[in-house]
């Protein structure tokens, strides 16, 4: 999922919650959109949680290309 699709999902979820909150939907329709809403919420959460906490540093390899290596912060100066 891209950010754009994520935005769409979130917007649809907002719409569903709004519709349910008015209480004007028939029961069957309510159940349908509720299930859709739950699925969307799960989808959105997964997307946000997909990134994990990770710190890497860019390093040059022998051929001059750039790769990453795990990085642990160690303060040496205050610059």
């Amino acid at each position: 999922m891209t950010d754009l699709k994520f935005e769409d999902c979130l917007a649809r979820l907002e719409q569903i919650v709004g519709a349910l909150e008015t209480g004007n939907l028939p029961l069957e329709e309510s159940l349908k959109v509720f299930e859709e809403g739950i699925a969307l919420a799960r989808h959105c959460s997964r997307y946000l949680d997909a990134a994990e906490r990770r710190i890497e540093m860019l390093v040059k390899d022998e051929s001059g290309g750039v790769t990453t290596t795990p990085f642990v912060f160690e303060a040496e100066d205050e610059a």
Binding site: D3, F6, E7, L10, L13, E14, I16, V17, L20, E21, G23, L25, L27, S30, F34, G37, I38, A41, C44, S45, Y47, L48, D49, A50, A51, E52, R53, R54, I55, E56, M57, L58, V66, T68, F71, F73, E74, A75, E76, D77, E78, A79
Partner: protein
């Protein structure tokens, strides 16, 4: 007395002047306004320093020009330090400039103002160029010293506020010779990774000289060319650098930059959590409402005791029938009584005339009796019709129409309990349309009707 002329060649005079001047002014600070500033292909620059009354030719050789922190140009008031030299070939003297500083503003300050003005004129700081930060950054590029306070502060904020972020550090020296180029290189490398959502360039606080790398024109242009939004976070709140002006967003401090990056994402996570709660709450409310309606519907008598309306109607039918019977019997009894009375009177009269009269009277009475009974029956029939009308209005058939049926024994008694019949009994089941003659197979105390 002859005076011996002491004749010098031009060169000799020049040489002597040069010796005097260069000895007298080997190192001097001169103050004046720059005019005719010109850089030659060699990289040497020539200009004139002047004031109200005089001019002085100056030369700034390439190696010295490189050390000048600002852009010398006509009209600038400067202080130049150098040695006076005679340029014998042209009969001129000039100042060979070693140092050039703006008067008033410091050199760095002036250079800063000049670059700022120039880039602003090019539109590099235009608000229309500014990109907004991504709402959901997942990968953040940071260009700074891997051991600096700026990185420490940013990691602290990100770690505290929102852990699930991938940080890629592009290590760069952030002060001294070559720092600007390293920072610019970092910005380009992070762009090349292709999946970085936002870049923070920055360093902790320091002197104007310490922060100087972030006033570099090449770095400014690199930031402007970045495909990824750039946040500048240089020094403290009060420090402004060219990088701050050209970046998409200027953060007051590195910590503040980290805040900006995670703020939106945190807001989204919170609003998503809120939506989840509201979704469940709205659905729960909806279900409760429906359950209420169901309860109310079940509470209606027709569903709690479907037989009751039928029983009511039947009772009223029985009443009407009883009244009809009484009315008819009463009319007959009254008639008989009058026949009896008439018979007695008749017997008291003389035989012939009285017999004739009596016969007439009897015939008359017979007719009246008949009519009385008829009328009573008609009246009772009206009663019955009215009662039946009321029954109709209460729609017993409508009840049967909904699928209920009425079971009667051959004597017409309505069967309400399994106890009232036994296996083998014949019953008649009255339906909405027609009826069924049935024989009881078995009786059961319990049944499988839904419990309501």
């Amino acid at each position: 007395m002859s005076v011996e002329r002491r004749v010098l060649t031009v060169s000799a005079l020049s040489a002597q002047l040069a010796a005097v001047m260069e000895e007298r002014f080997p190192a001097v600070w001169i103050e004046g306004e720059i005019s005719n500033f010109k850089v030659y292909g060699s990289g040497h620059a020539y200009f004139t320093l002047k004031d109200e009354g005089a001019q002085l030719r100056c030369v700034l050789f390439r190696t010295r020009a490189r050390r000048v922190r600002f852009e010398p140009k006509d009209g600038l008031h400067v202080m130049a330090f150098g040695a006076v030299e005679v340029y014998a070939q042209r009969g001129e003297y000039q100042l060979v400039v070693e140092l050039l500083e703006p008067r008033g503003l410091g050199a760095l300050q002036l250079a800063f103002e000049q670059l700022k003005e120039r880039l602003a004129a090019e539109g590099l700081f235009s608000p229309t160029r500014k990109r907004s930060l991504p709402r959901f950054p997942r990968k953040i590029g940071v260009v700074t010293s891997p051991s600096g306070a700026a990185l420490r502060d940013m990691l602290r904020v990100i770690g505290r506020r929102f852990g699930e972020i991938h940080i890629v550090l592009a290590p760069a020296r952030v002060q001294g010779e070559g720092a600007a180029a390293e920072v610019a290189q970092g910005v380009r490398e992070l762009n090349a990774l292709g999946d970085v959502d936002v870049i923070i360039v920055g360093r902790g606080g320091g002197s104007l000289e310490d922060l100087w790398a972030f006033n570099d024109e090449m770095l400014a242009r690199t930031i402007a060319a970045s495909k990824i939004p750039v946040i500048s976070a240089v020094g403290h709140e009060v420090d402004f650098t060219i990088a701050d002006f050209v970046a998409d967003v200027r953060a007051a401090t590195p910590s503040n930059a980290a805040e900006l990056v995670v703020k939106e994402k945190r807001a989204v996570v919170e609003s998503l959590a809120d939506l989840r709660v509201r979704l469940r709450r709205a659905m729960a409310r909806m279900m409760a409402g429906q359950r209420d309606r169901l309860e109310r519907t079940r509470g209606r008598r027709v569903l709690t005791d479907p037989g009751r309306p039928l029983r009511d109607l039947e009772r009223r039918l029985d009443d009407a029938r009883a009244r009809l019977r009484q009315a008819a019997l009463g009319a007959v009894a009254r008639g008989e009584h009058r026949v009896e009375l008439a018979g007695r009177g008749l017997r008291a009269l003389s035989p012939v005339a009285r017999t004739l009269n009596g016969r007439r009277a009897l015939t008359d009475l017979h007719g009246r009796l008949g009519r009385g009974v008829e009328q009573a029956i008609v009246r009772a029939g009206h009663h019955l019709g009215a009662a039946a009308g009321r029954l109709d209005s209460l729609s017993p058939l409508a009840v049967l129409g909904r699928g209920y049926s009425l079971t009667r024994t051959p004597t017409g008694r309505i069967v309400r309990s399994w106890r009232e019949v036994t296996a083998g009994d014949a019953v008649r089941v009255l339906l909405h349309e027609g009826s069924l003659d049935c024989r009881i197979d078995a009786t059961r105390e319990t049944d499988d009707r839904p419990q309501v």
